[in-house]
């Protein structure tokens, strides 16, 4: 009861001081709030950057290539197991490829049977004339065969299990013609829906749905390679490849180092930058709190002397000033958390084009950090209380 009264008076003192002197404290609260805004905003972004940038990087192509370790291809069962191993929520793109040599006008080409939708997920940066759908041909193929959008072309090839003689150039045109009608061969008319320009090897391929290819060669699903785009950093990807090769020895996964490493370097640099800015902001906030508290102690010299003249011990007067500092830190910190979220949200929307997760833990963390900062920055100014002599209140101005 007794102590309770005393505590109540303490709270009354510091809140009265803050509320009734509010206009003088606006700058202090603002300084803390701005610091807290930048800090909580940056930390929010900092936590979101890896994921945001990870997604961003996923539009630069596949970062994991899986090949069969033996002669046998990858079947549908393998694919399901691999997807489970990776974790389906982390997969941005997952395109199995089956390559088949075919002939167009007696010239050999490679037909890639795949999942065009997933290829798009892997490589959204490909430049496509026409549509992204069955069948697309590389720019090189289009030039060699003088094909345009909407043109038909005829492909010929050997069915699965047939002799590879179809590609034997020693047969005469006549012989090949007769063979074409044999049961080992297939022939199909396709239509150019899209022409691919990438500046890479893709320009020499013909892309079609895996199903079309399998139907033509009369075989079950079988992939020669899988290209995956996965949300992961370099070390996570390394772990994943080890995990896959251990669990499925018939597969040979390989991380595309160039991509993952540059992703990690960019992230590392950004994170270092965020840390640096955070530290600077904390220091600036501390300096401004220090200045404010020093000014406050100087300005309230008479009041402090009076309190001492009334019999207050140094400890008590200092605890009042610190209490005011803590309240300032609390108000500024709390204000800053919410402004910081606004700030992070805006940055995220502008830079990454998507929202951001609010880190609830930031509320207590920011408030505590800024209370700690105000306390640390206040210690020196508040210690000045000890030097203020009560006798000065009897001196006229």
């Amino acid at each position: 009861m007794a102590n309770n009264n005393k505590r109540k008076m303490y709270l009354r003192l510091i809140t009265r001081s803050l509320i009734r002197r509010a206009s003088r404290l606006i700058t202090a609260v603002l300084a803390i709030a701005i610091g807290a805004t930048i800090l909580s905003g940056l930390v929010t972004i900092y936590y979101d950057i890896p994921e945001q940038l990870g997604r961003e990087f996923r539009s630069y192509g596949a970062n994991l290539i899986i090949m069969p370790s033996g002669e046998n291809g990858i079947n549908e069962n393998d694919i399901n197991r691999v997807k489970n191993l990776i974790g389906r929520e982390k997969i941005v793109g997952f395109a199995p490829y089956r390559y088949q040599t075919i002939k167009i006008n007696e010239q050999p080409f490679l037909l890639a049977g795949t999942d065009l939708e997933q290829v798009k997920n892997n490589s959204p940066f490909w430049y496509i004339e026409g549509d992204w759908q069955n069948v697309m041909i590389g720019r090189e193929v289009a030039e060699v065969l003088n094909l345009n959008l909407g043109d038909d072309f005829k492909i010929q090839g050997v069915k699965f299990g047939g002799q590879a003689e179809a590609s034997n150039q020693n047969y005469s045109a006549e012989e090949n013609k007769t063979r074409d009608f044999g049961s080992q061969y297939f022939s199909e008319k396709l239509n150019v829906k899209g022409i691919i320009t990438t500046g890479g090897a893709e320009e020499g391929f013909i892309f079609a749905d895996m199903k079309i290819l399998n139907d033509l060669i009369e075989d079950n699903f079988k992939a020669d390679v899988i290209e995956c785009s996965i949300i992961a950093n370099a070390s996570e990807l390394e772990n994943l490849t080890q995990q896959i090769s251990k669990a499925m020895p018939n597969l040979e996964p390989r991380a595309v180092r160039r991509l993952t490493q540059s992703q990690d370097i960019v992230l590392g640099k950004l994170e270092a930058l965020v840390l640096l800015v955070t530290v600077i902001v904390l220091i600036i906030t501390m300096i401004s709190v220090y200045t404010t508290m020093t000014a406050m102690v100087a300005e309230r010299k008479k009041e402090i002397a009076l309190k001492k003249a009334l019999g207050a011990e140094n400890r008590l007067v200092m605890s009042e000033l610190l209490g005011e500092g803590i309240l300032l830190g609390f108000v500024g910190g709390a204000l800053g958390v919410f402004l910081g979220y606004e700030f992070a949200l805006r940055v995220s929307l502008n830079v990454f084009g998507r929202g951001i997760n609010f880190q609830w833990a930031l509320i207590p963390v920011t408030i505590i950090v800024f209370i700690a900062i105000t306390v640390i920055a206040s210690i020196m100014p508040v210690r000045k209380v000890m030097e203020i002599h009560p006798a000065i209140i009897l001196k006229g101005e």
């Binding site: 008076m9 003249a309 009334l310 019999g311 009897l394």
Partner: protein, 232 residues
């Protein structure tokens, strides 16, 4: 037995003797005025009696305890328990209401008690203004709050340095009347003043000059006559 004794007290600033070998004895319940020209050492003396300063030489015995060699923190404690202070400039805390200003003294002394603080304000006729801020009070009202604050912990000595210096005659009378009542209740009062009328109401008056007591006047014969309120 005297409540306060100064024995050969001097306060020396460099070559200046602000107080020069002062001997003074004040009995409990006495009402003493200290007068003298500017720079004569009145405030210096109040500071020493009020435990806010220590003499360069000599002894100050307050309520049987020699305080001339006490540490700062002990002086703080003694001041808190035995001295009530009032000032020319009132020194109320501007962000606290009248009653909160009184409670502040309770808080540093022992325990804040709003009821008791309100009663103290009632005694100085300020019950109605208890929840006003100092800026909303007149000078006389502020000084009465200051007196209520000085008395709230029942000090042995009420010390004032020019407590009526900033008041008009009407308010001066009100404050002197409060002193008169406190005196009748047995409070020891030591007041520095420039105002001869205020100096005259006391039982005893000393006059300082160049740090020395040059006159010590017994006023018991005329005591209480000056500055009567109308109708009192």
């Amino acid at each position: 037995m005297p409540i306060l004794e100064l024995k050969n007290v001097s306060k020396i600033y460099g070559s200046l003797k602000a107080l020069n070998d002062i001997n003074l004895s004040v009995n409990a319940g006495d009402w003493l005025s200290i007068m003298g020209p500017s720079g004569s050492g009145k405030t210096t003396m109040i500071n020493i009696i009020g435990c806010m300063d220590t003499p360069s030489t000599g002894n100050v015995i307050l309520d049987g305890v020699d305080i001339s060699k006490e540490s700062q923190s002990n002086l703080t404690r003694i001041r808190r328990d035995k001295i009530g202070l009032i000032f020319q400039q009132f020194h109320l805390i501007n962000y606290l209401t009248a009653v909160e200003n009184v409670m502040l003294a309770q808080y540093y002394h022992s325990m804040p008690d709003e009821q008791e603080a309100l009663e103290a304000l009632e005694k100085v006729g300020l019950k109605e203004r208890a929840y006003h801020l100092p800026s909303q009070l007149s000078g006389g009202e502020q000084q009465r709050v200051c007196i209520a604050r000085a008395l709230i912990n029942s000090p042995q000595i009420l010390l004032g340095d020019e407590p009526t210096g900033n008041l008009d005659e009407e308010n001066e009378k009100v404050v002197v009347d409060i002193f008169r009542r406190l005196h009748s209740e047995g409070v020891t009062i030591i007041i520095v003043t420039h105002d001869p009328e205020v100096g005259d109401v006391a039982q005893r008056k000393i006059i300082l000059e160049h740090g020395r007591v040059i006159q010590d006047i017994d006023q018991r014969a005329t005591f209480g006559e000056a500055l009567k309120l109308k109708g009192a």
